[in-house]
């Protein structure tokens, strides 16, 4: 194996989809990622039903990082008594006509005889004519032992397994490869070892459940409910899938009406479902994860698949049902932007919270330190601490001048003072936010730059306060202390950052339709339904549909609308209607079954007095006039994705520069800029925007005024030296104004008379220095210098 890393991944708890998927995924290996052939990435017949064809990332790891189908299980444990089981299998096989292998006795070659192997060991051989019956018997035994282990009893009328038959493992893979010219080597290959995939299908001969493996599957005829007659005439099925969604992974099977979507959209949804700000867990008060996302008023989807209920996804809800109108309105919904109703946001729609955790590990400090405050307040804190009550001027102010709404220190008569002996205000720095234990009060609102915990170095007795970094206001959620023996070893400070939907935040429906919030539109300006007065929560552009063909989303809207009017949930499982379809004929075609489904919802809508296909007459909220066209409107379940502007915005007017080049630094955290690169330069040149180009590349970058000696034509020779004191003694009386001030002198000609100030990029100075190091002189001819 050429791989030395990547054998473990961190199980991220971004939301429950992601957490769950981490335990249901397999990677083919880093080696195959570089391989040019795409054969390894393909979904082969033996993978059908084991690996999900939908749930794989797009791009480089496509088909290499796979997820198990929902029903697929892995044998993770070796047999309890392998020897006894193998002996039993050998006995059963012998009873079915196998001639056990013996030393010095060669196995006769196929096709008259078929070898039998168990976990790669040759057990013996049997007459080919007997193989089919033997394999059939083994399958029956598998179904029986499976029923015994799953249900505990057998259906009435079945003969229970006898003696060694009882030991046949239900997950045993019975792959019978018949003789075929040019085909794989024939044989009966039995597998009982761990690390195999298996999945349940219906064994048609007995009508019972059987677990099949991937090699086994390639040589079986498994009927798919929506597969009709299977394409080849006279094909006799031995097994049947347990349902239409058998091939899908858990995440893929949660997409409503996914069979109506263009296939890549379902793949995108599998990715985006795992990036959603949802409910990763329920024990928030007991967790100290570094970062947790949480949606505050989640809802259960109206349109849901059967698997949604089967997997109890309501325990970890992931989004909100939004009333979505599909129309081009105000042009703020162009190019996948979306307009949210401001009133909805005010009422808590799609509101999220990020929990961040800061761990203070006192044991790792050398010399050891403890939590606490500086007993002697610094001069600054004296002013800030004692004068705090009533002295509003001491509070930090924003750039616009308004005060931060500070937590008022609890008053002397408050319950906290009498019961908990908390001092109302301390004579130390940050007393408003921090207790005498050096830790913040839960519930405190904290602004960037404010101190929130403090650690004392025992040797010096000085306290060091840590200030909040970043640019967001946080709430202190809780403080947890760990340790014993009268000494705290660790402290966890959980901070809560409220994240209401903000312009630039990303949202997505469950159909791979993502969009960026572009406006909080006033409720009064939103269009409203003439019949009901309903204003949409969300407006998306109709252009999002023709090229992407996410009909599932339209159907979800239609189905949800009908369901909501009836006060019910709606089954949005993919491939509906095929489970009950008549297999004996091709009559139940795709189109017919689909038309039936749409008709059902349309009839429901009509019975509630709405238009059949989800359209409604709407009136513009701005003018009060009716729209010429009917607007498609209905509830769609929307997910809020974790990509938020608050984490990503980058803006700079002035800030840090690189010491060597004096050009702006890069990096969001450091307050750096975004590179204005060559292609951007080309664009401005093409526009002839010379002034803007000069502004970007020079004025806002490393503009500097450098002294050049016109006589020596050198950029490097002028240097500053202090002006010499004259001998008049005036300096002693402070009358020599220029004394001590620096004066520019050229090193090579010893005079400053020809020095001129030249504005140029500082990087040119750097270039001149580098050239000088190579003994190349850079001559600068100044136009107005007397030569």
């Amino acid at each position: 194996m050429s791989q030395s890393s990547g054998f473990t991944v961190v199980a991220e708890r971004l939301n429950f989809f992601r957490y769950m998927s981490h335990f249901r995924s397999v990677h083919r290996g880093a080696y195959f990622a570089q391989l040019r052939t795409t054969a390894v990435r393909k979904l082969m017949p033996e993978s059908w039903g084991f690996l999900c064809p939908v749930h794989t990332p797009d791009g480089a790891p496509c088909g290499l990082l796979n997820h198990f189908a929902a029903a697929c299980r892995i044998v993770t444990w070796p047999l309890d008594d392998p020897l006894a089981t193998r002996t039993a299998i050998a006995q059963v096989m012998t009873s079915l006509g196998m001639i056990p292998s013996m030393p010095l006795r060669p196995i006769p070659a196929p096709p008259q005889y078929t070898p039998v192997t168990l976990d790669g060991i040759i057990l013996g051989h049997m007459q080919t004519s007997l193989v089919e019956a033997a394999v059939a018997r083994l399958r029956v035994l598998k179904t029986l032992t499976l029923a015994m282990s799953e249900v505990g009893s057998l259906p009435t009328g079945t003969v229970p397994p006898q003696g060694p038959e009882e030991l046949i493992p239900p997950h045993m893979e019975v792959a019978h490869i018949p003789y075929a010219r040019g085909g794989p080597y024939p044989g009966v290959y039995l597998h009982t070892a761990p690390a195999r995939m298996h999945r349940p299908v219906t064994h048609l001969a007995s009508g019972m459940r059987e677990l099949i493996g991937s090699l086994e599957q390639s040589h079986l005829n498994v009927r798919c409910p929506d597969g009709g007659l299977g394409g080849s005439k006279g094909l006799v099925y031995s097994h049947a899938e347990e349902g239409t969604g058998a091939m899908l992974s858990i995440v893929a099977s949660l997409t409503p009406f996914s069979d109506y979507n263009q296939s890549p959209r379902n793949m995108y949804q599998c990715q985006m479902g795992k990036q959603t700000m949802g409910t990763p867990l329920q024990a928030f008060p007991h967790r100290t994860d570094g970062k947790l996302y949480r949606i505050m008023s989640p809802q259960t989807p109206v349109a849901r698949t059967k698997r949604y209920d089967a997997y109890c996804m309501d325990e970890h809800p992931n989004g909100t049902n939004m009333v979505v109108a599909v129309l081009a309105y105000t042009s703020y919904d162009m190019e996948d932007a979306m307009i949210l109703n401001r009133a909805g946001i005010h009422r808590g729609l799609a509101r999220g919270v990020v929990y961040k955790n800061e761990t203070i590990d006192l044991r790792r400090r050398n010399p050891p330190a403890y939590l606490g405050i500086d007993p002697k307040p610094p001069a600054k804190a004296m002013r800030g601490g004692f004068a705090r009550i009533g002295d509003a001027e001491e509070r930090p102010k924003t750039i616009f001048g308004q005060k931060f709404p500070q937590n008022e220190p609890s008053k002397a008569e408050s319950a906290a003072v009498s019961q908990k002996k908390v001092q109302p205000v301390g004579g130390y720095a940050d007393a408003e936010r921090m207790g005498t234990d050096g830790l913040p009060h839960p519930g405190t609102v904290l602004y960037p730059g404010q101190g929130y915990y403090s650690i004392v170095e025992p040797i010096s007795g000085k306290a060091k306060t840590t200030v909040l970094k970043g640019e967001e206001v946080v709430n202190i959620d809780q403080v947890t202390l760990l340790g014993g023996d009268n000494r705290w070893a660790k402290a966890n400070i959980t901070m809560r950052i409220p994240r209401p939907p903000y312009i630039g935040d990303k949202f997505s429906s469950r159909h791979g339709q993502k969009g960026v919030l572009s406006q909080h539109y006033p409720d009064t300006d939103m269009p409203f339904c003439a019949a009901t007065g309903m204003r949409p929560d969300l407006i998306i552009n109709p252009h999002a549909f023709p090229s992407r063909m996410t009909i599932g989303m339209l159907l979800e809207s239609l189905a949800s609308k009908a369901a909501v009017l009836g006060g019910q949930f709606v089954n949005a499982s993919p491939f509906q209607g095929f489970d009950e379809a008549d297999y004996s004929s091709e009559a139940a075609t795709d189109a017919q079954s689909r038309a039936r489904l749409v008709k059902k919802f349309a009839d429901q809508l009509e019975s509630f007095g709405f238009q059949r296909h989800g359209g409604e007459t709407m009136i513009s909220g701005i003018t009060g006039e009716e729209f010429a066209a009917d607007i498609f409107i209905g509830p769609v379940y929307y997910q809020r994705l974790r990509h938020m502007v608050a984490d990503k915005f980058q803006v700079r007017s002035t800030g840090g520069v690189n010491a060597m080049t004096r050009q702006p630094i890069k990096g969001r955290k450091l307050g750096g800029g975004i590179r204005f690169g060559e292609m951007e330069r080309d664009a401005l040149l093409a526009h002839g925007a010379a002034n803007l180009l000069h502004d970007r590349l020079h004025t806002c970058s490393d503009y500097s005024v450098l002294p050049v000696c016109g006589r020596c034509k050198s950029l490097l020779s002028p240097h500053a030296k202090p002006r010499q004191r004259n001998m008049t003694g005036l300096a002693d009386f402070g009358l020599d104004g220029d004394a001590g001030r620096e004066v520019l002198t050229c090193r090579s000609c010893g005079s400053g008379s020809a020095i001129e100030q030249v504005a140029c990029p500082f990087i040119f100075h750097y270039l001149a220095t580098e050239l000088a190091a190579m003994n190349i002189k850079c001559n600068l001819t100044l136009r107005n210098t007397p030569s």
């Binding site: 007065g533 238009q611 009716e626």
Partner: protein
């Protein structure tokens, strides 16, 4: 479907009350005026009629499962009976003489039982001289209060649920405000108007259809049997309830299917006939909301009028108009 012909400039707007069974719902017709007036009225109802809502919350103790700002947000959304809103001063209206009115509430609950406890708007204790400003559905509602409702179907609003040992203690401050600032101050669930359809039938064209065909034609239209009726004596289609028609296209599609000429049925919205439906939240009776909205609209027009008159540039135009 824009109004086809313009209404005359000379108007005598009329209001006809249609349905006012409870204070929470009213339906009226607005006639003889333009869309601009109807829409202005709708917009003012939604976002300019002032109400009372909790604005500031000071949390002293909170050991519930919901965090501070979430509880504060929930408190803000509780509808508070706002019949006194007319005599209150909002922060925007406050000046040196008039102070902004602040209505205080207190909440102090601790769960001591083993069962899950609901903290509701009932636990919110008013702490001021505004006895009417109680949460909607509060059992302490004073007699003779304008907001009358059936107390049986009004249950207090759940703020948070608690288990044993959890505690919530806070002070809340309500202020007067409008829906323009925050949706919590909006006095209505929805306020809307719709156009009244004017349906003209061309009986000659319709007579192409037999009685049975007419029946199946009506059946194929959404609400067809409500909009139209089939006269069994004359076997003609007659308009039954024009308002049941919602301006959808399907009727015209059906007409094509039944090979009727496009002018067999002509429908246009009446340009000066609006049906208003206002659904209140209980903070104010709908009648009050509408009359307050009209007052606000009038006030806004008065402000505009004085501004226009004060502008010298407008003076000649105004005198022209008068002449």
């Amino acid at each position: 479907m824009a109004p086809a012909n313009k209404p005359s400039t000379r108007r005598t707007p009329q209001v006809r009350l249609r349905n006012y069974d409870s204070d929470d719902y009213c339906e009226f017709e607005l006639l003889g005026t333009d869309v601009s007036v109807a829409n202005a009225l709708r917009r003012i109802i939604l976002s300019h009629v002032p109400t009372i809502a909790i604005e500031l919350v000071e949390i002293e103790r909170n050991s519930t499962v919901l965090n501070d700002e979430f509880i504060a947000h929930r408190l803000g959304l509780i509808p508070i009976v706002s019949t006194d809103v007319g005599i209150l001063t909002s922060p925007y209206e406050a000046n040196d003489d008039k102070q902004c009115d602040e209505l205080e509430y207190e909440l102090n609950v601790r769960c001591t039982g083993d069962e899950t406890m609901d903290v509701t708007s009932e636990d919110l204790r008013p702490h001021n001289s505004w006895p009417n400003a109680l949460p909607v559905g509060h059992s302490q509602r004073p007699q003779g209060s304008a907001a009358q409702g059936n107390a049986a179907d009004e249950r207090p609003i759940v703020i948070v649920k608690m288990r044993r040992g959890q505690e919530l203690k806070l002070k809340a401050m309500a202020r007067k405000g409008t829906g323009k600032d925050h949706a919590k101050w909006s006095p209505v669930a929805t306020a809307r108007f719709q156009y009244r359809p004017d349906i003209q039938l061309d009986q000659d064209a319709l007579s192409r259809l037999s009685f049975q065909e007419k029946e199946s034609f009506l059946n194929s239209i959404p609400r067809g049997k409500m909009i139209f009726r089939l006269n069994p004596h004359t076997s003609e289609i007659e308009v039954n309830d024009a308002e049941a028609y919602l301006f959808d296209r399907q009727i015209f599609e059906r007409m094509e299917e039944f090979s009727l000429p496009p002018d067999a049925i002509t429908i246009r919205p009446l340009p000066d006939y609006f049906i208003f439906k206002v659904e209140g939240t209980g903070v104010l009776p709908c009648a009050t909301i509408v009359s307050m909205a009209i007052d606000i609209l009038r006030e806004k027009l008065a402000v505009l009028h004085t501004e226009v008159q004060n502008q010298e540039n407008f003076a000649p135009m105004l005198s022209d108009a008068a002449a």
